[in-house]
Symmetry: C2
Subunit: 471 residues, 2 copies
Amino acid sequence: MRIVVVGGDAAGMSAAHSALRQARAAGREVEVEVVEATGHTSYSACGIPYWIADDVEEGADLVARTAEEHRAAGIRLRLHTRATAIDPAGRTVTVEGADPEGATDTIRYDELVLATGARPVVPDWARGPDGALLDGVHPVKTLDDGALWRDLLARAETAAAAEGRPPRAVIVGGGYIGVEMAETLVRRRFSTTLVTRSRVMGRLDEDLGARVAEALALGGVDLRTDTAVDRLVSADGEVRGRVRGVVTTDGRHVPADVVVLALGVEPATDLGRAAGLPLGTEGGYLPDGAGRLAPGVWAAGDCCEQAHRITGHRTFLPLGTHANKQGRAVGAALLGGDLRFPGAVGTAITRFVAGGEHVEVARTGLGTEEAVEAGYDVASLVTEGTTASGYMPEAAPLAIKVLADRADRRLLGVQIVGGPGAGKRIDAAAAALWGSMSVDDLAWMDLSYAPPFATAWEVLQVAARRLAERL
Amino acid sequence: MRIVVVGGDAAGMSAAHSALRQARAAGREVEVEVVEATGHTSYSACGIPYWIADDVEEGADLVARTAEEHRAAGIRLRLHTRATAIDPAGRTVTVEGADPEGATDTIRYDELVLATGARPVVPDWARGPDGALLDGVHPVKTLDDGALWRDLLARAETAAAAEGRPPRAVIVGGGYIGVEMAETLVRRRFSTTLVTRSRVMGRLDEDLGARVAEALALGGVDLRTDTAVDRLVSADGEVRGRVRGVVTTDGRHVPADVVVLALGVEPATDLGRAAGLPLGTEGGYLPDGAGRLAPGVWAAGDCCEQAHRITGHRTFLPLGTHANKQGRAVGAALLGGDLRFPGAVGTAITRFVAGGEHVEVARTGLGTEEAVEAGYDVASLVTEGTTASGYMPEAAPLAIKVLADRADRRLLGVQIVGGPGAGKRIDAAAAALWGSMSVDDLAWMDLSYAPPFATAWEVLQVAARRLAERL
């Protein structure tokens, strides 16, 4: 039996190893081959901003398992090899290798796993007439992007120092990557502007998102919300050469040595689209409960839309932790194992720690807009408190928003913005959502208390209790 | 209607305010009177070690609400007044006031709330022939104890400095207070010995407890486990005057300027015992689901044994956070409200941060011994990992033990020992236990991930997954 996996990052490699384990446990002989377009496997894309910020010494540290380690575990691995077509009827994948340049090959499979991930959204204004990105303008997605960014920032720093001014960066996009790159750039002492069409942290409700925006501003980020980019300006006014600045739709010019494209990602599903596989409203694959797309074809990771456990709808929630879990489940399922990825509830966390600010941001479940759209009668409340007992030096302020359904008191979502120790509190709420618990359960459950860690009534529970009292 | 509350700390004052709120909401006229033996109300006993360690500026900072604030809210409050007897049939409480000295009074009630808390265990060897504690030997329980400890340590520091040696402390008891006072004393540069009859952190399984012991030892605490105190030695060899040292049952002499009694607490239930109210196996009151002990008599807080949601048995789990919740529920219930304290799952957290060590300790649910005793077929596993992605500077080691029932895969308990950020992870497990979830739920649920906060597979979930694979 021959299993081919397209994509050698979190989902793909998890699937490959899981299939090997499952086969071994079942005493079956399988051959697992992974095709990966870049030269890297199993790396942490989420760690790239911290590598650029010098928290991480080298890109290799972000690699969880190297190609050699995968091969040693019995996986055939073709690096620098791009899958260009799949034929689900004939059960083949066409690939194009780098060496010899552009040589194509057709690989036969019994079971195929599509784990092609997501790719950054790149707007037209970022490209020159030749379609290439302008010099100094780039997304933050792959390990190669990370290496490029380290070079770009070093070059900008040198050039700015020569001119006796701080280096300048514009980040376009106010989501997770935008906020993380803002931390990176402020910590590297870039004069940093963040431009976003709407607001910062659109995955939070507006009231909580405003707290993140405030921390960014206090940390030194020049925020331009409700603002889009009209065009880039490059050396000599030409749309070639190095970028020099951004012109926003309100006609203002923002000088920049570098421009970070942080406009989100979209599922990389060209292979399936060309083969006629059905795609969801957000362009992702729609695997069934076991991870299957079609006979002999499976999918896992950021190229998929996932089952949201609260709404029951499919949602695009690209995240390494889901990709790992989905890959593990699919790798076992395609050999008849009974692991199933049970869906997600939309948990996410990030931080902005720079310029004297430390803000942690977390969310789980549905935001108000999502919940209303899904038909819930939403009640919500923001509660302020501290991460430790107020008299402790560790005590940092935090704000928690809890959302519940007026109809049945069921918890719908929680959002947290606060100082050190605030963010990971989201996990108790995520667990409560996982168990379809009520806001009363969250208010009265037995969460941990000691002065360095919480107030005697943990703020998450005060927040739930206050909302429960108003339902 | 006249409500009398005996005890003005967490449970009692919560009950008093809750009753007032409930009465107001129901449009009823009630009089609420609280009788408190000390001069303090609503203070954080848990914060006392941090006050002694100088993290907290003054004792008043530990007071959540002062007597004046309670009175302003409409509560009658008698401080320095001890309840000496209750008469459930006649619905009266006899009290003895401080001013005029020892004057007694009989208070009539319609509903009585016993919130007398717990008192420290004081062994015979700690007392002189007159029954009084030896000078320099004291428990850590009340705000007055805290003030005394600050004086005792200052005196010991001065005396030791005069003799050109470090001040010396012996802590007797290796539970939460023992570990917290070890932090306090090491941070105040006391040469610190901890003597315990069994081992450190007996509420953890032995393997996890050993990690705490290791941190204490590395932090400079001289540990004497499996060792009991035989007697104290005081100035001039007499069992009077200042303590000079401890003689352990193995015949060794440990010099000490102060001796901390950290041997646990027991429910303070003399009033009820004398009145013939039934008590549990651990000596605590046994309120029903609404908090009622007998017609017109209710109880809340550390004087009670609580319903354990996993075993269904009553357990003595003295903790401010439970006391607050129980008080709130009872105060409403005695006026016909429908709040109920829903029980606990045994969650607790603490830390030892001193001498260059930072270890956080947390547990929830049942330990192995408890679980076996309760009849479960226990499977468990210890998993090691890091609190953040391994490549991040924040990454600190942690160990997580997960316990599950082989019969139905239900999660039974979780224990965590690790560096900064390890402890509060327990809350996700506590929420899972609250919802009677399985070890598979914990393994696959949607917990938060980003490199500064977790590994892509959160360790708590790796721990659950590994155990799930072995069930």
